[in-house]
C-alpha cells in the first residue's frame, strides 16, 4: 500500500516540479497554482474513492486531477494550450476537467465549485446511485457565502457529499486569522449537523483512513461529512517560485511541514530499489506527457468560437 501511495505522491510532485522547471521557458503561458507540499490531501482522499465517484476542485487542482485518475497527457497538454489538452487548450491550469475520471470541474473563482458538487450529489442521490461527490476547497473558500449555503443545503437534503477543506493557512498572502473570526472550521461544519473531522499534520495515512470512514458513512446514507486537512503550500500562491522573502510568512513556519512531508517519509521507508523503480517509471511517464504536450498542435483558428453554445 505504501508503494501505491508513494507512487501517487511522487507522480504529482514530479509533475509539478517539471511544470516549475519548464515554466521560465514561457511555454506554459498561464497562471499555475502548484500543490507542492499539499499532495497528501488529494491522494489520501482519492485513495478511498471509487472510479464512479466525482470530485470538484479549485484552480489549485493539479494534485486532485491526477489523484482522481485524470489523464496526465491531457493535463500537461492543457497547460501548454494544446488542442490535445483536457479542455482543448481553452481552459488552462485553472479549469481542468476529466469527465471519464470523474473530475467534473475546477474553477478560478474561489468557492464556486462547492455548490456544483452539492448539486451533482443531489442528482446522484435522486438516481439512487451509490456514488458520492468530494468537494475540495481551501480555507479561503470558507469565507464565502456559497460555503455556508452549500453546507446547509447538503445537510438539509442529506446528500452524499464529502467536503474536503485543504487548510494551508493562507489565502494568497492572508493568514486565516486575518479573515476568520475563529479557526474552528469543524465546529462550524458541525453546526449544520454534519460530522466533522480535523486532521492536524497532513499525513497521507491519517487522511486516507479518516476519509475512508467518512466515505463509508456517506455511502451508508449518513448525509454529508466534512474533513479539514491541515497542509502547507511550499511555493508561492501562483507561479513556480519560493516566496519566503516576501515577508508574509517565514521559512521557519515551513520547516516542520518539510519534515512531515508524506512523500519523503514514505520514500525513506521504501526499499531503495522499489523506490528507484517507481521513480524511474513515473519519470518516464511524465517525460512522455511533456513530450506529448510539446509535440501536440495548438487548436486551429476555427476553434475560437466552437463550444460557446451547444447544438440545439
Amino acid at each position: 500500500m505504501s508503494e501505491v501511495l508513494f507512487r501517487e505522491l511522487y507522480r504529482i510532485r514530479h509533475v509539478e516540479q517539471e511544470v516549475a522547471r519548464v515554466y521560465p521557458t514561457d511555454k506554459i503561458k498561464s497562471p499555475v497554482h502548484l500543490s507542492i507540499g499539499q499532495e497528501a490531501v488529494s491522494v489520501g482522499v482519492c485513495q478511498t474513492l471509487r472510479a464512479d465517484d466525482i470530485v470538484f476542485g479549485t484552480y489549485r487542482s493539479h494534485a486532485l486531477f491526477l489523484a482522481k485518475g485524470g489523464n496526465l497527457r491531457a493535463m500537461i497538454a492543457e497547460l501548454y494550450g494544446k488542442a490535445t489538452g483536457c479542455t482543448r487548450g481553452k481552459g488552462g491550469s485553472m479549469h481542468l476537467i476529466d469527465v471519464a475520471a470523474g473530475v467534473m470541474g475546477t474553477s478560478a473563482v474561489v468557492g464556486t465549485t462547492i455548490p456544483l458538487a452539492v448539486g451533482y450529489a443531489y442528482a446522484l442521490k435522486m438516481r439512487g446511485s451509490g456514488a458520492l461527490v468530494a468537494a475540495f476547497f481551501g480555507d479561503g473558500a470558507v469565507d464565502e457565502g456559497a460555503f455556508h449555503e452549500s453546507m446547509n443545503f447538503a445537510a438539509l437534503k442529506k446528500l452524499p457529499v464529502l467536503f474536503v477543506c485543504e487548510n494551508n493557512l493562507y489565502a494568497i498572502h492572508s493568514p486565516q486569522a486575518a479573515r476568520q473570526a475563529k479557526s474552528n472550521l469543524c465546529e462550524r461544519a458541525a453546526s449544520y449537523g454534519m460530522h466533522a473531522e480535523h486532521v492536524e499534520y497532513g499525513d497521507v495515512f491519517t487522511i486516507r483512513d479518516r476519509t475512508a470512514a467518512a466515505v463509508s458513512a456517506i455511502r451508508a446514507g449518513s448525509g454529508p461529512r466534512f474533513i479539514e486537512c491541515m497542509t502547507y503550500r511550499w511555493k508561492e500562491h501562483v507561479g513556480p517560485g519560493d516566496d519566503f522573502a516576501a515577508g508574509y510568512r517565514t521559512r521557519a513556519e515551513a520547516e516542520p511541514w518539510y519534515a512531515r512531508d508524506s512523500l519523503n517519509l514514505i520514500g525513506a521507508r521504501l526499499d531503495p530499489a522499489v523506490r528507484a523503480r517507481i521513480e524511474h517509471e513515473v519519470q518516464a511517464e511524465v517525460r512522455d506527457a511533456f513530450e506529448f504536450a510539446e509535440s501536440s498542435p495548438f487548436p486551429g483558428h476555427e476553434e475560437l468560437l466552437t463550444d460557446v453554445y451547444g447544438v440545439a
Binding site: 466525482i54 470538484f56 489538452g85 483536457c86 479542455t87 482543448r88 487548450g89 481553452k90 481552459g91 479549469h95 476537467i97 469527465v99 467534473m104 470541474g105 474553477s107 473563482v109 464556486t112 465549485t113 462547492i114 455548490p115 456544483l116 458538487a117 452539492v118 448539486g119 451533482y120 450529489a121 443531489y122 442528482a123 446522484l124 435522486m126 457565502g145 456559497a146 449555503e149 452549500s150 446547509n152 443545503f153 438539509l156 466552437t306 463550444d307 460557446v308 453554445y309 451547444g310 447544438v311 440545439a312
Partner: protein, 348 residues
C-alpha cells in the same frame, strides 16, 4: 385549436408536459411547491412528480444556482424559479462565471442545460428592488440564451424549447403578461429560439416591444391607426439569439424603428436592437429610430410617479408618430391605463 390559456397556465402546461416526457427535468426554487405555486405556474407539479423533482429551497440564490448547475452537469435539467428578477443579482456569479462558460472553458466536455425562470415585477408599488428587468445583463454574456415571450403561445413553445435546449436559458416573464390570454394548442410544441414574431403587420413604422411592452405596442398600434399610421409590431421573443435579420427586414420596409423595452434604455436591449438593425440597413436604407424604456432612474413606488416611469401606449404612439410625421407635429392620443396594471393587487 381555439382553446385559450393564460400565459401562466401555458408555462405550467409546458412544464408539466415536458416533465412527463423527460424524467431528468426538476423544478426548484423558493415557493415552487407552495399553495400559490409561483402565480400558478408550478401548481400541481409536486403532487404529480413528487418532492424529489419539485422542491422548495433555502433562501440561497447563489448556491442554489450552483446546485442547479451541478445537477445539470450530472445529467438533470433543472428549472430554477425566482419570483423576482431582482433576486438574480445574487446568482450572477454562478450564472455568468459558471453556467455561461462551462461548455467552452471545459472544451466542450460538459453541458449546462438549466432553465432560470424569473419574473419582472410591476404595479402596486413594487418599487426599486422588485421591478427590474435585467435581461440586458444576461444578453451581454456569450453562452447564455435569453428569451422573453409575450404571448401564451410563445410562452408554452419557448418553455418546451428551453427544456430541450443544450445551453443555459434565462426565461424572462413579466408579471403583467402572466394574465394575458391566448390560443394555445394542447399538444406539446416548440417555438424555435432566434426568430422574432410579427404580432401585427404595418408599413409605416416598426414597433419592437420586449415582453410586456409587446402588449403595449399592440395598443399603441391601435392608437396610431386613429392617425392613419400603420405600425408593424414585432415581438423579438428571443433576445439572445436575437433575430436581428427579421427585425431589420421589417425596418427596411418601413424605414422607421421604435424599440420599447421593459428596462432602462442606456446600454441595454434597446441599444442592441437599434445597433443590430442599423448595422444591417446602413448604406442601404435611411432609418429613423427611437428607443423607449424605463425612465432613467430608480423605480418609484408611488402611483403618480410609477405611471410616468413606464412607456405606455400613448408615449409609444407619440414616439412613432413623431418619426412618421416629423418633429414639429403635435399629437396626443387618448388612452387608458393597461387593465392588467390597474387590476393587479398582488400577492407580489
Amino acid at each position: 385549436m381555439t382553446r385559450k390559456l393564460s400565459y401562466a397556465e401555458a408555462i405550467r402546461e409546458a412544464t408539466e408536459q415536458e416533465m412527463a416526457r423527460d424524467p431528468s427535468i426538476i423544478v426548484l426554487g423558493m415557493g415552487v411547491d407552495d399553495f400559490r405555486g409561483i402565480y400558478g405556474t408550478t401548481k400541481g407539479l409536486v403532487e404529480k412528480f413528487g418532492s424529489d423533482r419539485v422542491f422548495d429551497t433555502p433562501l440561497s440564490e447563489d448556491a442554489m444556482t450552483g446546485v442547479a448547475i451541478g445537477a445539470a452537469l450530472a445529467g438533470l435539467r433543472p428549472i430554477h424559479v425566482h419570483i423576482r428578477m431582482d433576486f438574480l443579482l445574487l446568482a450572477m456569479n454562478q450564472i455568468i462565471n459558471i453556467a455561461a462558460k462551462a461548455r467552452y472553458m471545459y472544451g466542450g466536455a460538459v453541458s449546462v442545460p438549466i432553465v432560470v425562470r424569473s419574473v419582472i415585477g410591476r404595479s402596486w408599488g413594487q418599487g426599486a428592488q422588485h421591478s427590474q428587468g435585467l435581461h440586458s445583463l444576461f444578453m451581454h454574456v456569450p453562452g447564455l440564451r435569453v428569451v422573453a415571450p409575450s404571448t401564451p403561445y410563445d410562452a408554452k413553445g419557448c418553455m418546451a424549447s428551453a427544456l430541450r435546449h443544450p445551453d443555459p436559458v434565462m426565461f424572462v416573464e413579466h408579471r403583467m403578461v402572466h394574465f394575458q390570454k391566448g390560443v394555445v394548442p394542447e399538444e406539446p410544441f416548440t417555438v424555435p429560439f432566434g426568430r422574432a414574431r410579427t404580432l401585427a403587420p404595418g408599413k409605416d413604422v416598426t414597433l419592437v416591444g420586449v415582453s410586456h411592452m409587446a402588449v403595449e405596442c399592440l395598443r399603441a398600434r391601435s392608437l396610431l391607426e386613429q392617425a392613419g399610421i400603420q405600425a408593424e409590431v414585432i415581438d423579438p421573443v428571443s433576445l439572445s439569439p436575437l433575430d436581428a435579420d427579421g427585425i431589420a427586414a421589417s425596418v427596411k420596409k418601413t424605414g422607421r424603428l421604435v424599440v420599447v423595452d421593459t428596462s432602462w434604455t442606456f446600454c441595454g436591449t434597446s441599444a442592441e436592437i437599434v445597433t443590430a438593425v442599423l448595422e444591417r440597413t446602413q448604406g442601404k436604407r435611411d432609418v429613423s429610430f427611437a428607443r423607449l424604456g424605463y425612465a432613467p432612474g430608480t423605480c418609484p413606488t408611488t402611483k403618480p410617479l410609477e405611471n410616468l416611469y413606464y412607456p405606455n401606449p400613448q408615449t409609444i404612439a407619440m414616439a412613432a408618430h413623431t418619426l412618421v410625421k416629423g418633429e414639429g407635429t403635435r399629437w396626443e392620443p387618448r388612452t387608458s391605463e393597461a387593465p392588467e396594471v390597474v387590476e393587479f393587487k398582488g400577492p407580489f
